[in-house]
Symmetry: C2
Subunit: 374 residues, 2 copies
């Protein structure tokens, strides 16, 4: 039979969550892991290869029908080498670069006439933007890393000197809230979005998502989906992508792109007919995309983020209380050691009563992390 093998660079929780979709469809996975203890390496076939070992990466990739990613920390030359050797890699290097380089992403959004904040590259000298501003290292940052609030010229110069690279400067927006749109696009150019998601932030980290966005202006939701579709087409996306957007006085501004399954789309596992993980596999295999409608009025996802340094924190005993208290709660365990600030799992609930869903999800997260004990 011609069931394909999909190579996945990375074996974290995003690769782990591809496993159920792959098992259902009969698609074989081969993960490129850092170690046998990686989240997904515990549940799917993997190889341990240094991403900088081009020959080893290539030898592995050639055994796969298609190669994809679950994170952005992949050297561009490794991707280019695979493509040169005729390996099908999706997203392609020419698309993936917008996930890896924030400066190129801003240039592309401008070119596509999509809503950017005021922005500029910076190689020294007087700031072209007013202070305070946001400075970003164009590469290597994610989840808020590599992002700095800069108060004045001397702080900017200090950062530039320390970073020793061109910086991306952006105006500091006074935004109302942040949303994300998940979009998928296949090789044939078929594209589909899910309903836009409100990403509730706590100290700059997404702690909860609500889908669809409560009390949202219908036009704004459609605009957000159209922006996501325009980007997907504009960068020739193949796979799924998260488009993170700021809402500023009712206007949308593109914040960041992630060309992979994303935390903002975890709700889709239970909340949508087709999960982002199944859709990603369909897209990179050029299969027709699945329906993306919600199966409930609301889907609320809560991230379980480590709050203590006790690595021995046992995340299994909380199941007894949580499953008894919230029979509709769906637990996703990444099987990672708990560390402060580290995502070790998430929980999702779908239903009609948003207040109840948010409350039960928040309780589950706090009980799982040990923030509360009842």
């Amino acid at each position: 039979m011609s069931f394909p093998k999909v190579g996945v660079i990375g074996a974290g929780q995003l690769a782990r969550m591809m496993v159920p979709a792959a098992v259902d469809l009969g698609i074989e996975l081969s993960l490129m892991a850092n170690s046998s203890s990686d989240s997904a390496a515990q549940v799917a076939p993997y190889v341990v290869i240094d991403l900088n070992d081009e020959a080893a990466v290539l030898a592995w990739a050639k055994k796969c029908d298609v190669v994809t990613f679950e994170h952005e920390q992949v050297p561009a030359k490794a991707i280019a080498a695979m493509e040169k050797a005729g390996v099908k890699v999706f997203p392609s290097s020419s698309s993936f670069i917008y996930s890896q380089n924030k400066l190129l992403m801003r240039q592309k959004m401008s070119e596509l006439k999509l809503p950017n904040p005021e922005w500029s590259s910076y190689d020294g000298g007087t700031s072209p933007l007013k202070f305070p501003l946001i400075a970003k290292t164009p590469t290597g940052g994610y989840d808020g890393r590599g992002v700095f609030v800069i108060a004045d010229q001397s702080a900017l110069e200090k950062l530039h000197s320390e970073a020793s690279q061109t910086l991306l400067l952006e105006e500091k927006l006074n935004f109302d809230y942040e949303i994300a749109v998940m979009v998928a696009r296949s090789t044939h150019g078929q594209a589909a979005t899910w309903a836009p998601t409100l990403t509730v932030q706590t100290n700059g980290i997404c702690t909860q998502t609500i889908t669809p966005i409560p009390d949202v202006n219908e036009d704004l939701a459609i605009q957000a989906e159209n922006i996501a579709l325009a980007i997907a087409q504009g960068i020739d996306l193949v796979g799924v992508m998260a488009v993170e957007l700021f809402v500023v006085n009712g206007e949308l501004i593109v914040n960041e792109l992630a060309l992979r399954p994303h935390n903002s789309g975890h709700w889709s596992i239970e909340g949508s007919v087709t999960s982002q993980f199944e859709q990603h596999l369909r897209a990179v295999l050029d299969l027709p995309l699945g329906n993306t409608s919600l199966v409930a009025k609301w889907a609320v996802m809560g991230n379980v983020i480590g709050i203590q340094t006790d690595k021995s924190k046992d995340l299994y005993p909380p199941y007894l209380h949580l499953m008894a208290r919230s029979p509709k709660l769906k637990i996703h365990q990444y099987m990672k050691e708990m560390r402060p600030g580290r995502k070790v799992g998430h929980v999702t609930m779908i239903g009609d009563d948003l207040v109840q869903l948010r409350s039960e999800v928040a309780h589950a997260v706090d009980y799982m992390t040990g923030a509360i004990d009842e």
Copy 2:
């Protein structure tokens, strides 16, 4: 961390469908397979052990926190040996026997005052029941195997002589339709049913299920759930069980029991908040049971059953047409070679329009098997 390891005897599609639930919850599986090509052995850790090799079974079982089954072909003495050695085995041998021995099952239903057909054991002599009747070999039969329609005394005597064992005789019911109720029960005695399912039969094989039962008398559905709960308690079930029932002139008659996840409950993967596979893991681990409500008005499941002898039938190319035609279709591929009469997969759709769901599911099954080509 104290995440448990669940040993599963059998590595067919039922074990395969436990994998996504186990991955989500962080539960480790260890399968006892017949070979590396078994459906579930392709996607989860397994050992190949002969079930009759008691020492090997025991050594494996002792490494698991709990052992369960995905089929009934397990020698009773192998289960007893595990129990004697202190291994947690669920369902226990004293429950599981009702899944393995149809004569003991009838005796138990009578004892529990649950609705049996007219029945008798038979060791020779004049039939105590009127002809035509149904004769069954008490052990070893499933999916219609070991079940015979007997027209007269001489046919009965011939069968008894050939079978060389006590037979179970049952009146031949002129039933209106067949239904199934899935029920789960944990070590602590918490029990939960799903909505009863109509099992649509073609030539004695279930080809489609519809949940809930269309146009059903609400009292009948409640009665069916109560019968399933009474059996679960009466046999001290731990795990999930399918209770198959005949509806005869609006009355329910118990047909068969299967103490494991069952084809009649496959709809629950997409159609219920908690799938039968997650529930089975929860039950045998004595975790609180999940909510069993439907997430849509209807869930329709269609079995993909082989119709041709061409073992090279490739089940992947049909994805292109089926996914394009039915974006809401959920495909479950067991990764088994197609053989006539063999279940090689199933498809499920959930939604509001039962006529459309049944039509799309039937089309998908026929296209997948090659019965139609458009």
